[in-house]
Symmetry: none
Subunit: 241 residues, 2 copies
C-alpha cells in the first residue's frame, strides 16, 4: 500500500511566495509525500522556500519545475483540482476524504496529481479544465481563505490517514469480515427478540439503527468476539438465574 | 450544533515565532474557531502575527494572553494535549478524528481546549499532565515535524468536518452528551459484572475496548437509549425467565 504515496504528485501552479513552496514541501513530507511539481513559480529556488521547508529540503531539491500545467501532468491518469471556488458543474466535486480514497486507488497502478492554484486567486478555469475532478476542502463560508501550505497539509493528511490505517491509533486489531459482522447482527436480533425488546411484528427499524451505529465504528474481530460474548453471557444469565 | 465550535479554545503555549500565531489564527478562522489563548508567547502582539493572520486579525484582537497554562484552562471541562511525542501511558491517546468527536460532544455543554506546545519541543510533561487526554496527529515516522499552524489546521479541519453533519451523510441524530455516554458505560459494566462476563478482579481491559469501539462511532442520543434499553431488557429477562 505504501507504494501508493510515491505515485502522487503535488502540483503548485504559479506560486507567488517562495515561503509557501517550502511550507508545502514540509507539509508533504510529514505525510509521506515526496513528489513536488512547480508550474512557473514566481521565485524558485529561494532562501524563503528553504527556510520554511525546515528539514524537507530534499523535497525542494527533487522538485520538478515546468513552464506549463500540461507538462506537470504528463503521464498522470488522474488529476484533482483543489479549489474552493464554485465552478460550473462540468466536474465532479469531492471532499478531501473521498478524494484521498480515489487518488490512492488510482495510484496503485498509475501516476496521479493534486493540483493547487495561486495564493490569491487559486486555479484558473482553464487549469481546472485540464484536471479530471475537483476537490473542495470544507471550510467556514464567511472565511474560507486557507493558506496554500495548509490546503496541501489537509489533503496530505487525508492521504496519509487513508493510506496507513495500521498507523492510526484507532485501529488496533484486524477488521471483522462481512460474515462475522452478519453473525453478530443475527445474534443481537435473536437476543432482542427473546427478551421482548424487539417485537418482530413491529421492529421499528431497531436493527437498521444498530447496523448504522456499528458500521460507523468499523468493527474489529476481537470486538465482535467481545460483543457476542456479552450477548451469550446475558443469555446464560437468563437461563441460570 | 454550530454552537459547539464557540466553546472550543485553542491554547498555544510559549510560542516562539509570532508568525505562527498569526498563521494559527488564520487556520482557526477557516474552520469556524475563534477563541485563541496564548500562554506566555515570546512576542505578541507582533507585525509578523498580523501579516500571517491575513484576514483573521479579529482572532488576534480577541486573543487572551495569560502567564500560565492553568489560567488558560480555567473553566474548561476537557483539555486535549496535542503532541507527537510518545508519553507514558498515563493518558488516553486519540487520533484527531476521535478527538474532534469528543471535544464537540463536551463543547455542547461546557468549555473545552486544544493545547499546543512550542515549535521546537512541543508540550512539557508537566503541561500534558494538566490536560485530560492526548491527541496525536498521524504522520510520517521519519519526519513528523508538523508546523504549529499546520497542526492547528488539521485539528480545526477535523472539528469543522465533524461539526457540519449536514455535509456528512452518516450523521442523522443529535449526538449524545458526555454524561449520557458515561451512564451507558456504567450500565454496560454493571451488566457484564452481574452476568460474570467481566470479572472486576481481572477486567482484562474489557471496558477500554468497549469505549474504543463506541467512541469511534460517536454515539447519538437515540442510540444510547436503544443500547440501554437492550441492557435493561436483558436484565429483566434474566429476572423473569
Amino acid at each position: 500500500m505504501k507504494r501508493g504515496l510515491e505515485n502522487i504528485r503535488v502540483v503548485l501552479c504559479r506560486t507567488s511566495h517562495p515561503g509557501n513552496i517550502g511550507a508545502a514541501a514540509r507539509a508533504m513530507k510529514t505525510m509521506g509525500l515526496s513528489r513536488l511539481h512547480l508550474v512557473s513559480p514566481k521565485y524558485f529556488p529561494h532562501s524563503d522556500a528553504t527556510a520554511r521547508a525546515s528539514g524537507a529540503e530534499d523535497i525542494l531539491d527533487q522538485a520538478v519545475v515546468s513552464a506549463t500545467l500540461d507538462q506537470a501532468l504528463e503521464g498522470t491518469v488522474l488529476a484533482v483540482a483543489v479549489t474552493a471556488r464554485r465552478r460550473d458543474l462540468s466536474h465532479e466535486v469531492h471532499d478531501p476524504r473521498e478524494t484521498a480514497g480515489m487518488l490512492l486507488g488510482e495510484a496503485e497502478s498509475g501516476e496521479v496529481a493534486l493540483v493547487f492554484g495561486t495564493e490569491m486567486s487559486g486555479l484558473t478555469t482553464e487549469e481546472v479544465g485540464k484536471c479530471t475532478l475537483i476537490s473542495t476542502i470544507p471550510a467556514n463560508p464567511v472565511y474560507s481563505s486557507l493558506n496554500l501550505a495548509s490546503a496541501v497539509q489537509i489533503m496530505a493528511y487525508e492521504l496519509w490517514t487513508a493510506n496507513a490505517p495500521e498507523k492510526n491509533s484507532v485501529r488496533e486489531g484486524e477488521l471483522a469480515t462481512f460474515e462475522e459482522i452478519e453473525h453478530f447482527y443475527r445474534h443481537l436480533e435473536e437476543t432482542m427478540i427473546r427478551t421482548g425488546f424487539l417485537d418482530p411484528e413491529e421492529p421499528k427499524r431497531l436493527m437498521q439503527r444498530m447496523r448504522r451505529l456499528f458500521s460507523r465504528s468499523r468493527l474489529e474481530k476481537n470486538e465482535i468476539n467481545i460483543l457476542r460474548g456479552i450477548l451469550s453471557s446475558l443469555e446464560n444469565g437468563a437461563r441460570h438465574v
